[in-house]
């Protein structure tokens, strides 16, 4: 008799749907208005996109294990957003260049993270935290907080506005991105190796996996994806500021955890992180439209997270 177990991404999604349906009953809920409900749902998913993309890199390094985490992603998002803003400067034809620069700059920062972790044996938590300080410091040095630029109309159109029917371009992009991430994790040897190094690096090495290379690649890719996140985010906000990326940092980790990816590495999925991003965004959105003081809201958020992870985040018992 096999125990029926809900996979975390599915559980998170079901929870999201239930919460959303219940929210209709709230005093400020959408009530019977299907249009408003649809608009709200679309909006929540759209907002989740940016968190979701930033959580993608986080998912990779967390799966790569050995305390893998990327605390520099918030700063990288800010940096690449600023770069995009400055490079594009209102020109549609500079958008691809900006995207490329964002990916490369993010990738290089990630590579540094990976190098510190692989070669100098610095624990990822503090290495990437230190890197966050370095990147923030570099932003301050480079522009003293003052930048001039403008995003291109095409970015606004594709990222921030409805693209097909009422569906924003960001959501369509995310779905495609999700499929690519699934391919990467589940249908390439890169993905298989990533899980392998997340579980046991000695085994992986003795089985012919280039562990150092994989680790460098994971952090570089995470950096590049954070860079991509910055690029997309500025397309949504339309403006940049020094604190743009920071608010996404811890939620991106929480999204990964809520999605059922083991923070200790070696197990997880990007679907999970997507579901996690949606759940987190949904909860914050619901709390926004509910009238309660910030203190209560924080407690509700904390409590909901606890309940969520208590449902499926329990680790194996020592006694079986």
């Amino acid at each position: 008799m096999k125990k029926f177990r809900l996979s975390p991404p599915v559980a998170a999604l079901i929870l999201a749907v239930i919460l959303f349906l219940l929210s209709g009953l709230l005093p400020n809920g959408y009530g019977n208005d299907i249009d408003v409900a649809m608009a709200q749902a679309t909006n929540i998913v759209r907002l989740a996109v940016f968190l979701g993309i930033i959580a993608a890199g986080q998912t990779l390094v967390i799966i790569s294990g050995y305390e893998g985490i990327d605390l520099s992603s918030g700063s990288v998002v800010t940096l690449t957003a600023i770069l995009t803003y400055v490079i594009v400067n209102g020109n549609n034809d500079k958008v691809l260049l900006a995207l490329l620069v964002s990916l490369v700059v993010g990738g290089i920062i990630g590579l540094f993270n990976g190098a510190g972790i692989s070669f100098l044996k610095i624990s990822p938590f503090v290495m990437t935290l230190g890197m966050a300080g370095v990147v923030t410091g570099a932003i301050l040095v480079l522009n003293h907080g003052n930048v001039s630029g403008k995003i291109a109309p095409i970015m606004t159109k594709v990222i921030a506005r409805p693209l097909i029917g009422k569906i924003p371009g960001a959501i369509i992009l995310w779905v495609i991105f999700g499929i690519l991430m699934w391919l990467l994790l589940e249908r390439t040897s890169f993905g298989k190796y990533l899980f392998a190094i997340g579980v046991n690096r000695v085994t992986a090495k003795l089985s012919g996996v280039n562990v150092v290379g994989m680790n460098l690649a994971a952090y570089s890719l995470a950096g590049a994806l954070a860079g991509f996140g910055g690029f997309l985010l500025v397309g949504n906000t339309g403006v940049v500021f020094i604190n743009l990326g920071q608010p996404y940092l811890f939620p991106s980790i929480a999204a990964v955890a809520v999605g059922g990816t083991l923070l200790s590495g070696g197990k997880g999925s990007y679907w999970g992180s997507m579901a996690g991003a949606i759940v987190l965004t949904l909860i914050t959105s619901l709390l926004t439209t509910m009238q309660m003081p910030d203190s209560v809201r924080r407690m509700v958020l904390g409590g909901t997270l606890l309940i969520l992870i208590s449902i499926y985040g329990r680790q194996r018992s020592l006694r079986q």
């Binding site: 300080g133 980790i253 203190s295 606890l306 329990r314």
Partner: protein
């Protein structure tokens, strides 16, 4: 391994490298600021570093036991807001001590809640304490929605200026902690702590009360968070629900600079205490070194990364061959 070889010292005494870092930062700081080692400056600096130092000590217990606690900031805030609202700027010393006792209980309780979720429900530490951190921060904000209130200046004076026998209060606290730690390490509890952090399954099979130990590390962290909350309230004399938020990541950095690994099972509290002081001194060094203000953040972060990287760099040069 030779008894006095670098590798032996570094492996055997986790506080060895942090000690070197500390000495270097004291020397550099003293060159830039010649009166650094005057009693007044030592007191000034240590009373500022003390909250972080206490937080790092609590965090160390959790990390040796293989966990992590990022709810400490929330606990600090709760303690601070309770004291600021209940004692108030005009309170009497008696109310103060009464509520000091109460906030210590609050810290223990918050730690116990973390312990419950992590040791008994077996949830992952990072995400659990992230969530309870929201709970605690929300509670602090509930207790004190707007910054304000505080403790009587007379009481914070005690913390700021007491120097029994001419030695700053902080030194006594550090010595007491070291003493207690030395005792703890030589008890079964100390062994269990390392065993659980080293390999929980093996420890369980050896009949170590794994659950109790894990639970207790969070309670200890809650306790030290309460101490840190009291210290920072004494230092600032005021209440602010956001007071602890900025301290979380720094406390973890202090522990790691102090030679206690994330993976658990190694380290001690001496290193992290030195780590906390070193971090504070790095701030001083940057401040006294006449760097353009725009560069300060970058320089400070780079110094910290360099400090974290130093053992690895030394190893790179010493390494004879890759081992699996």
């Amino acid at each position: 391994m030779k008894r006095w070889s670098w590798r032996y010292l570094v492996n055997r005494y986790p506080a060895f490298f942090p000690l070197i870092l500390l000495v270097i930062s004291i020397v550099v700081n003293a060159i830039l600021q010649p009166n650094l080692l005057s009693l007044e400056m030592i007191n000034n600096n240590l009373r500022v570093f003390m909250p972080m130092l206490l937080l790092a000590v609590g965090q160390t217990f959790v990390m040796i036991g293989g966990g992590i606690d990022i709810s400490v900031g929330g606990i600090v805030s709760i303690v601070n807001t309770i004291l600021a609202t209940q004692v108030g700027l005009t309170g009497t010393p008696e109310t103060m001590w009464k509520f000091v006792f109460l906030v210590i209980l609050a810290g223990l309780l918050a730690g116990a809640l973390n312990g419950f979720f992590i040791a008994i429900l077996r949830l992952e530490p990072i995400i659990t304490t992230y969530a309870t951190g929201f709970l605690y921060a929300g509670l602090a904000l509930f207790i004190l929605p707007n910054p304000g209130g505080g403790i009587p200046q007379k009481i914070s004076e005690i913390y700021r200026t007491t120097t029994p026998l001419g030695i700053p209060l902080a030194i006594y606290i550090i010595v007491i902690i070291l003493l207690i730690w030395w005792l703890i390490r030589s008890t079964r509890f100390g062994r269990y702590l390392y065993a659980v952090g080293g390999n929980a399954q093996a420890a369980y099979e050896t009949a170590v009360p794994v659950r109790t130990i894990v639970f207790s590390t969070y309670v200890i962290s809650g306790l030290f968070s309460a101490f840190a909350g009291i210290a920072i309230t004494m230092l600032s004399g005021s209440g602010n629900a956001e007071i602890g938020a900025g301290m979380i990541l720094t406390s973890i950095t202090a522990v790691v600079i102090g030679g206690t690994a994330f993976s658990g099972g190694v380290g001690g509290v001496a290193g992290p205490m030195m780590g906390a002081i070193t971090l504070g001194l790095i701030q001083n060094i940057v401040s006294f070194s006449h760097i353009s203000t725009w560069w300060e953040t970058l320089v400070k972060a780079s110094i910290i990364v360099a400090a974290l990287a130093a053992p690895g760099i030394i190893d790179l040069f010493r390494k004879k061959g890759t081992r699996i």
